[in-house]
């Protein structure tokens, strides 16, 4: 009885080549960059650093937002950056029930936040008296288009029913958890007042529309992980 079939031999050979190859690469890395690799993926206190290398792409926080012309509920994450983390960029996927229309809908939102100030209020709380920025919202479905279909004469409707641009201003309060205790470092609760291009266009030249008509409210939670 043959101990190895031809196929097994090929696999073993391939595995050997792979092993040698990997050994060669890691040997080079050890010589060149040993210290760097250790400090990048392991923190001084010995914890694993999930955000080393490609890990920076892991969102630093999760956000859940209710209403705000984005969807009924939008769930997403994002990254904070800049001096004193004044900037935050979020990405959301939202769910919009069909209500009186025929289909449930999914929305997608990219949101840019600017948070100019942070006020420490007691040992655990931080207040951000102003959050502001804009977000682009896209709604999925056949009924919505970015540019009007070719069947229409040029500039027939001259707007996109799919993409909405929103501007907002809001406030936020953050509770900072005790260190090393929780998966989340802090939880922030926020509200925002916003409007979008369609509501603004409607409001201009119409005194009939009041702020409560063209301004929109939303509530949200931000959970900081890193």
């Amino acid at each position: 009885m043959k101990l190895f079939t031809t196929n097994t031999k090929i696999i073993l050979f391939a595995f050997f080549v792979l092993l040698v190859g990997t050994a060669k690469v890691s040997a080079q890395r050890v010589i060149r960059d040993t210290v760097h690799i250790i400090t990048d993926s392991i923190k001084p206190n010995g914890e694993k650093n999930y955000r080393a290398g490609w890990g920076v792409l892991i969102p630093e926080y999760a956000k859940i937002q209710y209403a705000g012309s984005m969807a009924l509920i939008s769930v997403g994450g994002g990254w904070d950056y800049g001096k004193n983390k004044h900037w935050e960029t979020d990405v959301f996927v939202g769910f919009l029930p069909h209500y009186s229309t025929s289909k449930n809908k999914i929305t997608f939102t990219v949101k840019q936040n600017y948070i100019p100030w942070r006020i420490t209020a007691g040992p655990r709380f931080t207040i951000e008296p102003l959050t502001t920025g804009l977000y682009l919202n896209s709604i999925w479905g056949r009924d919505f288009w970015v540019a009007e279909p070719e069947k229409y004469p040029n500039s027939y409707y001259a707007f996109s029913s799919k993409i909405r641009i929103n501007v907002f201003a809001g406030q936020r309060v953050t509770y900072n958890f005790e260190k090393q205790r929780d998966f989340f470092r802090s939880a922030s609760f926020f509200y925002e007042v916003s409007t979008n291009d369609l509501y603004l266009l409607s409001a201009v030249k119409n005194s009939y529309l009041k702020p409560k008509d063209y301004l929109v409210l939303s509530l949200g939670v931000k959970l900081q992980m890193f």
């Binding site: 984005m70 209500y99 709604i139 009924d143 029913s161 005194s207 009939y208």
Partner: protein, 268 residues
């Protein structure tokens, strides 16, 4: 101090009211009055029963002209000689849910009943679903005294042949349902034949079918944003178009027993 600050912070959105939590401009979340055309048709038919002289108003294309529409409502409420109003369509500019509700709330201020037609802008995005819920079917008819009013969706360009526009099955069923008490007919549509929205391949077919109705008086339309009075097919059937409400005008039609009618453009 901190507690006070936090409390006022938390109360702010509550004070503003729950109406302001908007899911999406195209969410289709409708609050308030629904099924308006059916309710108002019942009022029109009850008030006009037995009448042989009818006086009604056509107006339309009120999209994004809320102030002007409100002025129209005030102007019309000053008079007491009108039986009902036909809004010739384009209640909205973007087909957004809120736009339909804003326009409905203004038009609901009319003392007389009104019906609304589906305009091409009202078909944008999921606007047709919203129109259906707030106002009703896209094709409908009602009786005002001895006149039968047939209101049609003629916005063919919005429907890609997936949907019959104009719906000849509906029109033929209406013809079969004619009652002898309604000896006259008026057609109302947002878009008239030979408009870029109309299915112009069947324009003449459409004309010959509607001429089969008893004593066709005339047709009314909107869409072109200026006053129109045209014998489109050179066959004596007039098409009267109301201007957009921005121009602050409406048309009053009086249909009288001796088989005559008059129309008058009123500026307010």
């Amino acid at each position: 101090m901190i507690r006070k600050l936090l409390l006022s912070f938390a109360l702010l959105p509550l004070l503003a009211g729950c109406d302001m939590f908007d899911s999406h401009p195209y969410d289709g979340q409708i609050t308030g009055d629904k099924g308006i055309n059916a309710k108002n048709i019942a009022r029109i038919e009850a008030a006009c029963a037995g009448k042989t002289s009818i006086k009604f108003v056509s107006m339309g294309d009120s999209q994004r002209w809320y102030d002007e529409t409100e002025e129209f409502v005030h102007a019309l409420n000053e008079r007491d000689d009108i039986d009902f109003v036909i809004h010739a369509g384009d209640l909205t500019d973007f087909g957004a849910t809120e736009e339909f509700m804003w326009m409905r709330d203004i038009m609901n201020g009319l003392n007389v009943p009104y019906v609304a037609l589906l305009g091409n802008h009202d078909c944008l995005a999921n606007g047709q679903d919203i129109f259906h819920t707030i106002f009703g079917p896209e094709n409908f008819s009602f009786k005002a005294g001895n006149v039968n009013f047939i209101c049609l969706n003629t916005n063919a360009l919005e429907f890609d042949y997936s949907h019959p526009v104009p719906d000849f099955e509906f029109i033929e069923n209406e013809r079969d349902r004619q009652q002898p008490e309604q000896s006259k007919t008026v057609f109302a549509m947002h878009v008239r034949p030979y408009s870029e929205q109309f299915n112009n391949n069947i324009a003449r077919v459409f004309q010959s079918v509607i001429k089969g109705f008893p004593n066709l008086q005339f047709c009314i339309n909107g869409h072109d944003h200026h006053i129109q009075a045209d014998d489109l097919f050179n066959d004596g059937v007039m098409y009267y178009g109301s201007a957009s409400i921005e121009k602050k005008s409406y048309i009053v039609y009086t249909i009288t027993p001796n088989n005559q009618y008059t129309y008058e453009v009123v500026y307010y």
